[in-house]
Structure formats: structure tokens, C-alpha cells
């Protein structure tokens, strides 16, 4: 690790300095090995077969012909696969039964896994899988999501489904300005660059799984429960992870690989194809949202209602809690938020970067922009007038809320003061130009974690923690945190992560990873430093201290704990062709203490680029008549390319979390929150047209232009 810009290597000063990644050299030379790249002797390759029907039953799996093909070792399906347990509660709730493959003959959605073909080579496995004849009994399917279906029902998820106070209709009636609008967001896929991959094998009575996941002890726990094994009989490793974004938990690839490794008693690798990922690895559900706002003449909110409905599968209940963001952002005398789901014959959705906040902030922050227009107020001023003193729903104090500081700094740097509020009046050649803004928030949490820190006899330190570096730079951040806590330099600290043998740790998710792990590393390191201060010698095996943050987290006072941010965007719209280009974006965040400015800025910018992708490009299209995806690949599902992302800027205001030992809040999701709204608001400012349906594709711009 070298110091990139302003870094210092003096003791107790590593956190807050820009450092290149510990594993950077391995990543730029190709030496870093990801899950599908660890060699195993006698490795067999599994290839999944997915249902071609959308709903019904498997009548027959005609394995005979396939088993006679060259190199084919086994075909696993519901008729011969071992039974597994699904009636348990894992670290993050009940499992999605989609992962428990081959347990019954029902097909609950298109692309449901019906068999695994195992062969000596990937080519043989692929051909055999493609040749496998599966007979079905097809039933009619229902995949129609709409806001007004009577079978929608409220679901709690990680927050209450419904909150309400005050008399909504009365306050709306009394309001000087009312906005009542519906928004929709599409089915979105994580599409991390590394497909899910796992190799499973038995080693001395232990199930070993080399995987790509967001938490090795999380997946270890799930596999142990599912296969009715002791935790100690399962080891999961995940050294380098090619992106996760919420999708890399327990999935069919680990479970089917473990089944096959058990059946064949040899290592089996299962790698999902890009197309398979679209139906097997979760996604962000489409949402239909309705926002009703009522404000006084001066823009102060009297009424706020935000309702969201999303789809889930018939086998698993997942709520995309889009209405939750209003519980943090804005208060009103009458305040009502509702998250509902509808069960359809579709794959199970899951967490995807800023679950709830990403689609929810699009609707709420676009509605705020519409209200600002009605009130004749600057959109920033409207938000500042509605800054709550305490949690709008909880009444709890905020641990810190520096949203106003973000807006002030952002407005200054973006040049907001010069903005002409009128829409549709700035032209540059074929382009209409506009600017927009939106607020962002995301919860700052932490999960219980354990860490091992060892003082080695040679004066160096070894940190072991079952953390996951999904691209966040966690390995590097923890090196800085450990160096400071140990009052040493970073070159004396080695951090090992991604191995369930290191003991329980929180997942890389919910912007909680670095905070959770840093807490544990800091605690163990601090205790170790105290022990070393006693002056006893270090034995050959070193001195190891283990920490566990469970109690410390339980004793945290109840507060509203969140990161905040202000997003700004400038867009150019060609209303003749429907093309939209984002010209610049600025995000200013209040997101706790920034451990490594180099990697943190990168991550925040990546989130903002996700906002571009969400606003303009991403949409998985499901054919209503087949119930299956249309063109489920990276040519059919558009994510932003280099050419879509201009020079973006991200920066932060001072905002250390007062109750976190390092001051961290978490930055994984906040960058995407509000970004799509800022862009949509800018599109309105450019053209005068409100686009309430994402993505704002060229055809939608053209169709909207026709109506104007």
C-alpha cells in the first residue's frame, strides 16, 4: 500500500488519509483469484437447467440419454436430490426457498432450477444440460403488477409496513398546494460483473465451499442449517468478490454444488451464466408508488402520504420498503406511509443497493420537486423549510443530521444560486438543458461482529475477521482502522478476511459492513494494545485478542441514525430523438467519518453513476404472455457504460457519528439515493415534462413530447 495523495504514515493517523488498495496490485495484474478460479484436483463442473415454463409442475426429467453422454457424471433433480431443511431463521431472516433446489416438482416462475447436470468438463456439462429433456404440466400464470390490485397486502420486512398519524384527508383539504402523483420504477438487476460461482467439496468430514458472497459466516450458517450440519462442519471462504450489491447471499449455486459434491464425493463447481442470473439471483422489484403532499402557502408540509407496492414470488415474501424513506426525511401533521406486496408468478426479489431508499427517494424527491413548482419555491428552500427536529415518525433524536449543510455546500459548488427556475428555456444546439436536485438518506447501522487481532513476535500484527470486500475497499479500510487502534503503521498490519473460520461477522450490506467490522477490529486492537502496554513478552504463537461487539451494539441508545446527502445533476435532452445525457453531477454527503477518501469517493461516485443508470437505462422487460424475461442479458438489460457517465464529483461535510468508536456511518448506498430523482427533476427543468416512470428512455421522451 502506498500513500496516494495526502496520506501520512505516522501512527494514529491512518484513518482519513487516501490510501491505495491493499490488494490493488493483485487486482491489476490478474493475480487476485475469485471464486471460480481456485484450482481443485479432480474438479467436476455443474450446469443448471432452468424451467422453460412459468408455472406448473415438472412431469418428468429424462435423464437416461443425458447420462450416456460423454463425460456426464450425474443429473440431480427433484426426484433424486437430497432433502434439505428450509424451516429455519438465518442471520438475516427466513431463507428464500429458491435456494433450496430440487425439493419438489412445482415450478413457481420462469427460469426455476429443475436440474443440475454434472460432467468432467464445462463444455460437456453445458451440452448435456442443453440436451436434457424436461416435461412439464403447464398452468396459467399471473405476473401483472399494478397499484390497484385488491390482493396487495402490507408486509413489515425490516421496518413496520404501516405508520400513520393525523388526519390525512383533513390536512390535504386544508392545504394551499397539493401534489397527488403516481410513480413507477422497473425491475432492476444487480448485474455485478462476476457471476455467482462456488466450488463445494468435502474435506475430512467438513463441507468446504469456496464462494463469492457478501458474508462467509452468513452463508456458512445458512448451509449448516439447510444441510443439518454443525456450524463447525461447514467452512465458507470468499477471498475476492466481483461485486454483490445485495445479490450474493445463499443462492442455488452453493446449494446445488454442495449436493453434487456430496453425491459424487469430489469437488464440484457451479457457475451461473449471465442469463441464469436474471432469474436466480434476486432483483429489485418493480414498484408502483403514490405520493400525496399537502403544503401551506409557504411550503410547510401539512400532509404527507407515501404508499408503495412491489411484487414478490409465490414462495418468498420480500418487501421493497420504498415508503420508508419518508419516515426519516419529512414531517407533517398528517403522515402516512405504507409498504405492500403482491404475490405473483415471478422470481423472488431481494435487497439491491439501497433497498427501499433507491426507488422510494425517486418518488418522494420528485414529488417534492413538483411541490416546489406549485409553491413557487426553490426546491432546496422547500426542503430546508421542512427539516424535522426529530424523527418524523419515531420522535427520536437524530444522532446527527447534516442535510442542510450538504445542500448549502452543494448549492455553492454547483452554482445553484444562478439557476433560472423556469423549465424548458435553455437551449444549446439540439439540446435542452436543465438542472435538478434531490435529498438523500440511508440508515447507519451495524451488525454484531467478532474479530481476532494478533501481536506477532516480529512486531507486526495480524487481523482476522470474516469480512467481505465486495469492492468497497474494506480490507484497506480495516488496515487503517487497525493501525490507528494499535498505534502502529499500516505496513505492520496484515488483514485477512473472507473466511468463516475467523468467527461470526456481519455482512457487506446495508452500508453496515465497514462500520460493523471496524468496530470489532478497533475493540480487539484496543484491548491488545492495553495488554502489550503491560510489557510482557510475545510468545512464538503471538498474543491474540478476540472481540465481540454484540453487547456494545445492544447498549446503543435508540436514535435516528442515518447518513444524508444532497444530489445535483445537469442534463441535456434532445426532444427530437429522446436522447438524454447527464452532463455533470455533484453529491455532497454527511456520511460519518470517511476512513479512506480515495476509495470512499470512488464508491460514492459509483452510487451516483448507479443513479444515472437507474434514471435512464435499467429495465428488465418481462413478457406478459410468457411470464419470462425478454432478452435477459447485458445487451438487453442496459447498465450505464463509460460514455453515459461524465465527470461526477462527490465530497462530504464533517459528520462523525458520535456513538461509533471510529465515527463511521457507512457509505455503500447513500450515493445512489436521490440520484435518479435529481436527474428526473433536471429533465423536467430542461423540458417542462415530468417523467414519473423510470427509466426515462428515448421512446418515453418522444411519447411525452407528443402529448405536450
Amino acid at each position: 500500500m502506498t500513500t496516494a495523495t495526502t496520506g501520512r504514515t505516522a501512527p494514529a493517523g491512518a484513518v482519513g488519509t487516501a490510501r491505495t488498495r491493499v490488494e490493488g496490485r493483485a487486482k491489476v495484474t490478474g493475480a487476485a483469484r475469485y471464486a471460480g478460479e481456485i484450482p481443485f484436483a479432480d474438479l467436476a463442473h455443474g450446469w443448471l437447467v432452468l424451467s422453460t415454463i412459468t408455472r406448473g409442475r415438472v412431469r418428468a426429467v429424462e435423464t437416461e440419454a443425458v447420462l450416456a453422454m460423454p463425460g456426464v457424471l450425474a443429473v440431480l433433480h427433484h426426484g433424486n436430490a437430497p432433502r434439505v431443511e428450509t424451516d429455519y431463521v438465518g442471520m438475516l431472516g427466513a431463507p428464500d426457498p429458491t435456494a433450496a433446489v430440487f425439493q419438489h416438482d412445482r415450478v413457481p416462475h420462469a427460469g426455476w432450477p429443475v436440474a443440475l447436470v454434472v460432467a468432467e468438463t464445462p463444455e460437456q456439462a453445458r451440452e448435456a444440460a442443453e440436451s436434457l429433456v424436461v416435461r412439464y404440466e403447464e398452468e396459467p400464470h399471473d405476473i401483472a403488477l399494478s397499484a390497484d390490485r385488491p390482493d396487495a397486502y402490507p408486509v413489515d420486512g425490516h421496518m413496520p409496513a404501516v405508520t400513520e398519524k393525523g388526519d390525512l384527508e383533513a390536512e390535504l383539504d386544508a392545504a394551499a398546494h397539493v401534489v397527488d402523483v403516481e410513480y413507477s420504477t422497473p425491475e432492476e438487476h444487480h448485474s455485478m460483473m462476476e457471476p455467482h460461482a462456488a466450488t463445494a467439496h468435502w474435506d475430512g468430514g467438513r463441507l468446504e465451499v469456496v464462494d463469492s458472497n457478501q458474508g462467509t459466516t452468513w452463508v456458512q450458517n445458512e448451509l449448516a442449517q439447510m444441510f443439518s450440519l454443525d456450524m463447525s462442519a461447514v467452512r465458507v471462504r470468499s477471498e475476492h468478490i466481483g461485486g454483490g450489491f445485495g445479490s450474493k447471499g445463499l443462492r442455488v449455486h452453493q446449494v446445488s454444488a454442495a449436493m453434487a459434491a456430496t453425491a459424487l464425493q469430489r469437488p464440484v463447481r457451479v457457475v451461473l451464466t449471465r442469463r441464469q442470473m436474471f432469474s436466480l439471483t434476486g432483483y429489485r422489484s418493480p414498484t408502483r408508488q403514490r405520493v400525496r403532499l399537502g403544503a401551506d402557502a409557504d411550503g410547510r408540509l401539512r400532509a404527507l402520504e407515501h404508499r408503495s407496492v412491489n411484487q414478490t414470488s409465490t414462495v418468498y415474501e420480500f418487501v421493497e420498503p420504498s415508503a420508508g424513506v419518508a419516515r426519516v426525511m419529512y414531517d407533517a401533521a398528517a403522515h402516512r406511509t405504507v409498504n405492500q406486496v403482491i404475490r405473483l408468478d415471478v422470481p423472488s426479489p431481494t435487497w439491491m443497493r439501497a433497498p427501499g431508499e433507491a426507488p422510494g427517494s425517486f418518488a418522494l424527491e420528485a414529488a417534492l420537486d413538483e411541490l416546489a413548482e406549485r409553491c413557487g419555491l426553490d426546491p432546496i428552500e422547500l426542503r430546508l423549510r421542512n427539516e424535522p427536529e426529530t424523527g418524523p415518525v419515531s420522535g427520536l433524536p437524530f444522532s446527527s443530521r447534516n442535510l442542510a449543510a450538504c445542500f448549502r455546500e452543494g448549492a455553492r459548488r454547483f452554482g445553484w444560486a444562478d439557476r433560472d427556475p423556469r423549465p424548458g428555456v435553455r437551449r444549446e444546439g439540439r439540446w435542452l438543458l436543465g438542472t435538478g436536485t434531490a435529498a438523500a438518506s440511508f440508515g447507519a447501522g451495524a451488525l454484531p461482529s467478532t474479530a481476532l487481532v494478533t501481536a506477532e513476535p516480529d512486531g507486526t500484527f495480524t487481523v482476522r475477521i470474516a469480512a467481505a470486500d465486495v469492492g468497497t475497499g474494506a480490507r484497506t479500510a480495516l488496515t487503517l482502522v487497525a493501525a490507528d487502534a494499535l498505534e502502529t503503521t499500516t505496513d505492520r498490519v496484515r488483514v485477512h478476511i473472507g473466511d468463516s473460520d475467523f468467527g461470526p461477522a456481519g455482512v457487506a450490506g446495508g452500508s453496515m459492513g465497514t462500520r460493523s467490522w471496524a468496530w470489532a477490529v478497533n475493540a480487539a486492537a484496543a484491548e491488545l494494545r492495553e495488554r502489550l502496554a503491560l510489557g510482557t513478552g510475545i510468545p512464538p504463537e503471538g498474543i491474540t485478542v478476540r472481540s465481540d461487539t454484540t453487547e456494545a451494539l445492544q447498549s446503543l441508545a435508540q436514535k435516528e441514525r442515518h447518513s444524508f446527502g444532497a444530489q445535483f445533476a445537469e442534463v441535456a435532452v434532445d426532444t427530437g430523438t429522446g436522447e438524454i445525457r447527464v452532463r455533470r453531477m455533484l453529491g455532497i454527503f454527511a456520511a460519518g467519518r470517511i476512513v479512506n477518501p480515495l476509495t470512499a469517493r470512488n464508491q460514492l461516485l459509483g452510487g451516483m453513476a448507479w443513479g444515472i443508470s437507474m434514471a435512464l437505462h435499467e429495465e428488465a422487460v418481462r413478457d406478459p404472455s410468457t411470464g419470462a424475461h425478454y432478452a435477459p442479458d447485458l445487451a438487453g438489460y442496459h447498465v450505464a457504460t463509460h460514455a453515459d457517465v461524465p465527470r461526477l464529483e462527490a465530497d462530504w461535510v464533517d459528520d462523525p457519528d458520535p456513538d461509533d468508536p471510529v465515527g463511521i456511518k457507512g457509505i455503500g448506498e447513500i450515493g445512489v439515493v436521490g440520484a435518479a430523482a435529481a436527474i428526473a427533476n433536471a429533465v423536467w427543468h430542461a423540458t417542462g415534462v415530468r417523467h414519473r416512470r423510470l427509466p426515462i428512455r428515448p421512446d418515453r421522451v418522444l411519447e411525452a413530447g407528443r402529448d405536450v
Binding site: A4, T20, K27, T29, G36, E194, G242, R274, G471
Partner: protein, 188 residues
């Protein structure tokens, strides 16, 4: 694996990073799979296996190509450079060094493809090739300047879902500047 004579397999020699690798391949084997599954050169990544992401980019006869759509048998005898072959011993290739210094990645999975692609982009630009970002492609207009917009267009065949695009473009620009500077010094 024993490989009986078959019309569907061939004995080939892959020339990779200056080394010759004799190999018997199933014709279905792509160059990408030959690198990863047969030669333990796993630096080249499989992101989509359909030519839609660029993670598998290598240089074939000096030109960037997606190895997932290149059959290994059809690469017999051609000069292949992968990410493992760019550094000069311990000294990183300037493009690799720029990615490292400027944090031109996050998860790192698209990185070898981005880096190989950037090496190709810099050579293509040096050869005077225009791009879709070049307003006037006529030779009279002269070679295009390698602006950030040109870099973005030329690098667009390499998806980065972490979206580390801002720092990748900075890294490519720095490496291109260094190459241009070196070329000037060589002339002087």
C-alpha cells in the same frame, strides 16, 4: 483428460505472453475457457460469455478482443497477451500503475479487461483511429485528441458495474499522456 483422436478436437499451440502452450482442445472451447480452465491463467475474467461486457478482453495480435467469442482453435498460432503478460517483471505496465494509483476499480473483476482494453485504446489512438465520439472522421481533420469524451466512448465496451468510470477514465488519460510523452522523448 485423455483425448482420443476426434474430428471435434484439435492439437493447437497457443502463444500467450511470449510462451508457447501446446494443447488439445475441444473445438467448443473458447480462448477464455482455455486460459481459465486449461492454462490456469485466471486473470482474464468471464462476466457474460456473450461479448456484452468486455471483462474477458485480451490482446490478439496486438488488438483488443473479447476472448469469450474467440474459439481457442481459431487462435492457434496467434500472439495473445493477457493481463498477466503486461507487467515487466515487478514493474507494472503504466496502465496497471495508473489504475492502482488512481483507484480505477472497485471489485476488480472487470479490471483486467479494462486494463487490456485501455492498452488497446491507447495504441488505436496513437495510430490515428477515429471513434464514434470523433465529430469529423475525415483524414483532413487530423487525428482526434484523446479527450475524456473520446476515452469514454472508446472504453464503452468494458462495463464496470461498480461504476468506477470516473477514476478509470483518469487512469487511462494518465497512461496515455505518459505514452505520448515517452514517444516525444524517443523522437527527440
Amino acid at each position: 483428460m485423455a483425448s482420443a483422436p476426434s474430428p471435434n478436437r484439435s492439437d493447437i499451440t497457443l502463444h500467450i505472453n511470449g510462451e508457447k502452450h501446446p494443447l488439445t482442445v475441444d473445438h467448443r472451447t473458447t480462448l477464455l475457457d482455455a486460459l481459465r480452465e486449461r492454462l490456469d491463467l485466471t486473470g482474464t475474467k468471464k462476466g457474460c460469455d456473450q461479448g456484452q461486457c468486455g471483462a474477458c478482453t485480451v490482446l490478439i495480435d496486438g488488438r483488443r478482443s473479447v476472448s469469450c467469442l474467440q474459439l481457442a482453435v481459431a487462435a492457434d498460432g496467434r500472439e495473445i497477451t493477457t493481463v498477466e503478460g503486461l507487467a515487466d517483471g515487478d514493474r507494472l505496465h503504466p496502465v496497471q500503475q495508473a489504475f492502482l494509483d488512481l483507484d480505477g476499480y472497485q471489485c476488480g473483476y472487470c479490471t483486467p479487461g479494462q486494463i487490456c482494453s485501455a492498452v488497446g485504446v491507447i495504441e488505436e489512438h496513437a495510430a490515428g483511429w477515429p471513434s464514434a465520439a470523433t465529430d469529423d472522421v475525415r483524414p483532413e481533420a487530423g487525428p482526434p485528441e484523446l479527450t475524456p469524451e473520446e476515452i469514454r466512448e472508446r472504453m464503452s465496451g468494458n462495463l464496470c458495474r461498480c461504476a468506477a468510470y470516473v477514476s478509470i477514465v483518469d487512469a487511462v488519460a494518465r497512461a496515455a499522456d505518459e505514452r505520448a510523452h515517452d514517444a516525444e522523448e524517443a523522437v527527440a
